[in-house]
């Protein structure tokens, strides 16, 4: 099954680097059929990266979100953007539905909690711990890229 994995974040802003770090690791050992997309932020054209894939995963850092990470299924939703600077995964899925006229593939969010997002900071100790947990979860997901299996992995994990 073909999977597209988006990872977003700014590697120069502390724990915002969680997404870029995970995708950098995946670049070295991603299983066949896994397509990787890294970027600062999600934008409308990322909807086009969903095309041709049966499953999608969005990886991002979170602030005030569950630790060590939250793993959930998500669906299209437009929301109301305040600026042109970033879209949530739900809006990207909605853009796909709008321009294709068909539902997007099943999609999940892996939101890894961060604590410090200052410019030039390195990863915080808490984020390093969360990264390790997220790395294991990601490996479990990609070992069996199937929406039903991923749904079974949604139970919260202990920190």
């Amino acid at each position: 099954m073909s999977v597209v994995v988006f990872a977003v974040g700014n590697p120069s802003r502390g724990d915002d680097a969680l997404g870029p770090l995970l995708i950098a690791e995946l670049e070295a050992r991603a299983p066949p059929g896994v397509h990787l997309v890294g970027d600062f932020q999600l934008q409308i054209e990322h909807a086009l990266d969903l095309e041709g894939h049966a499953l999608a995963l969005f990886i991002d850092a979170g602030t005030g979100t569950p630790a060590p990470f939250e793993f959930r299924e998500t669906t299209p939703h437009a929301g109301r953007p305040v600026s042109s600077h970033a879209l949530p995964p739900e809006a990207v899925l909605q853009v796909y539905a709008d321009i294709r006229g068909t539902p997007p593939p099943p999609a999940f969010v892996l939101c890894v909690r961060g604590e410090e997002f200052g410019l030039g900071e390195s990863l915080s100790a808490a984020a390093r711990h969360n990264l390790a947990a997220a790395r294991n979860h990601l490996a479990a997901c990609l070992a069996c890229p199937d929406a039903a299996h991923w749904r079974s992995l949604r139970a919260p994990l202990a920190a």
């Binding site: 802003r13 915002d16 409308i44 979170g62 953007p81 600026s83 909605q94 006229g101 961060g114 997002f117």
Partner: protein, 488 residues
């Protein structure tokens, strides 16, 4: 220096409304309104968190790293920072003039950036307000609503942006964190195959861009009473122009027009910007307030960006965009158009111009050449100014004998527009909110005014879980009466 409605005289007894981000993460704006018991607006301020610390972040780094590093400033306009830094550092490697190939590839990259950013702003961010109305049902006033009512508009918006991103990928090496521009030139030419892939689509892109101009214009002309008056204030216009007065978004000299449209300063050399511009600090805002030094802060503030550029130049050097500019100028009936909502119309004219420039550059054999780098006697200081999508962007560096950056000064587009955006917010607050029951639709008027400028919200951090916007209503005693959040 304080402007009308900037600071209330008796702040303690006033009711406070905050349109406020709930996040520790840097990068969002906040509007505060102080109302008296009768609901009259006594104070209105727009606060935007600036690029705090970035100039310090750059100091001490090798100069050749800077064009790549500065892309971490912003996830929407990294290319603008990339190019402004490379331009500023050209003199440091002795490249007082770069090769034709380097300049044309940089221009291609820059106009790709203009196209993609303008498309994103208009189609995704602003079109819901413009197509459905500022007080239309919030459930409709989003890109889903646009897609439902205008599916082709939504589709074109995505494909226009994708084309711009593809121009950037080809010229910068990759879609994110490109390395194409380096001090002294570029490190990559365009291959014939890459050129041909862009050529395949560029005529369609021009047609769609022209349609977008007509859409923006028709919206404006269909409701002149609203579009011409909403948030209206008058100010100077400031931008780069080419030596012959043409629009040039990559290079040129600085020009200032007054609110009546008269050119009051022209031919200002970029390296002299710091003698021309001062920045005022106000205790209530992180962001500085630039002004023309010799005019002072009260009279010397100005606006930048598409609305300033389309009117500050004498002409646009591409046929279709110039025809559209003629119509825009005619709309002013002899006076400059100052209406903030006209930013959208001007922005689409620039998008059309960018598409035409890209087409012409693709036909230029210089972009295929390997003559990419210039060098000469090394310098120690440089200023790079370009017209980024949101307005004039200034990068200024000094480099020590150890090749490390010893000084960095950045004045970004949104900072130039600081006073202008505050004025628009105050005009809207006075006209639409004063003495009325506040509703989501009314508060959206404030956001509509801000969106017209497309402020850069010191982004490049965007973690999930934060709420980009919250609205809090407090009584005179500071008691929370109501609260709503949006986004996240």
């Amino acid at each position: 220096m304080s402007f009308e409605l900037e600071t209330a005289t008796n702040r303690e007894g006033l009711r406070r409304v905050a349109i406020d981000p709930v996040s520790r993460v840097e990068g969002h704006g906040k509007v505060t309104l102080l109302l008296d018991d009768a609901g009259h607006v006594k104070e209105a301020r727009l606060h935007i968190v600036e690029f705090r610390g970035f100039e310090k972040f750059i100091q001490g780094r090798p100069y050749w790293e800077v064009p790549v590093m500065v892309q971490r400033l912003c996830g929407i306009c990294p290319v603008s920072h990339h190019l402004a830094a490379a331009k500023a550092l050209d003199p440091v490697v002795g490249a007082l003039a770069i090769t034709p190939t380097a300049e044309k590839i940089r221009r291609l990259m820059h106009y790709g950036q203009i196209l993609q950013s303008h498309a994103l702003h208009f189609f995704h961010l602003s079109s819901p307000d413009l197509l459905f109305g500022f007080e239309s049902p919030v459930q409709q006033r989003n890109i889903v609503g646009v897609a439902g009512a205008y599916p082709e508009v939504a589709r074109q918006g995505v494909l226009l942006r994708k084309f711009g991103q593809e121009v950037i990928r080809i010229t910068a090496g990759k879609r994110v964190h490109g390395t194409g521009a380096i001090p002294g030139g570029v490190n990559k030419s365009v291959s014939p195959a890459e050129r041909d892939s862009l050529r395949q689509d560029v005529d369609q892109i021009i047609r769609w861009s022209r349609d977008a101009v007509h859409l923006a214009r028709s919206l404006h002309e269909a409701n002149r009473a609203l579009y011409d008056e909403f948030g209206l204030f008058r100010s100077h216009l400031f931008s780069l122009v080419r030596a012959d007065g043409a629009m040039d978004l990559y290079d040129g000299h600085l020009r200032l027009r007054d609110a009546r449209g008269l050119i009051v300063r022209d031919g200002l050399q970029c390296q002299d910007y710091d003698r021309f511009i001062r920045e005022e600090i106000k205790p209530w805002s992180y962001m500085k307030f630039p002004y023309v030094a010799e005019l002072g802060p009260a009279k010397g503030w100005y606006k930048v960006g598409p609305l300033a550029r389309v009117q500050n130049c004498d002409f646009i050097p591409s046929e279709l965009a110039e025809a559209e500019r003629d119509a825009f100028i005619a709309h002013g009936e002899g006076e400059p158009v100052h209406a903030p909502l006209a930013y959208h119309w001007a922005r689409m004219i620039e998008m059309l111009h960018a598409a035409e420039v890209i087409r012409d550059l693709l036909d230029d054999p210089d972009i295929l050449s390997d003559d990419r780098l210039a060098e000469g006697e090394q310098g120690r200081e440089g200023v790079g100014i370009i017209e980024a999508p949101r307005g004039t962007l200034i990068h200024h560096y000094r480099v020590g004998d150890d090749d490390l950056v010893s000084y960095c000064n950045l004045i970004v587009s949104t900072t130039h527009n600081n006073q202008a955006m505050n004025e628009a917010v105050r005009q809207v607050a006075r006209r639409y909110l004063d003495g009325r029951q506040l509703t989501e639709g009314l508060l959206n008027h404030i956001e509509v005014a801000i969106r017209a400028f497309d402020p850069c919200l010191s982004c490049a951090t965007h973690a999930l879980g934060k709420m980009p916007l919250a609205i809090e209503l407090l009584d005179a005693g500071g008691q929370l009466l109501d609260r709503a959040t949006r986004g996240g």
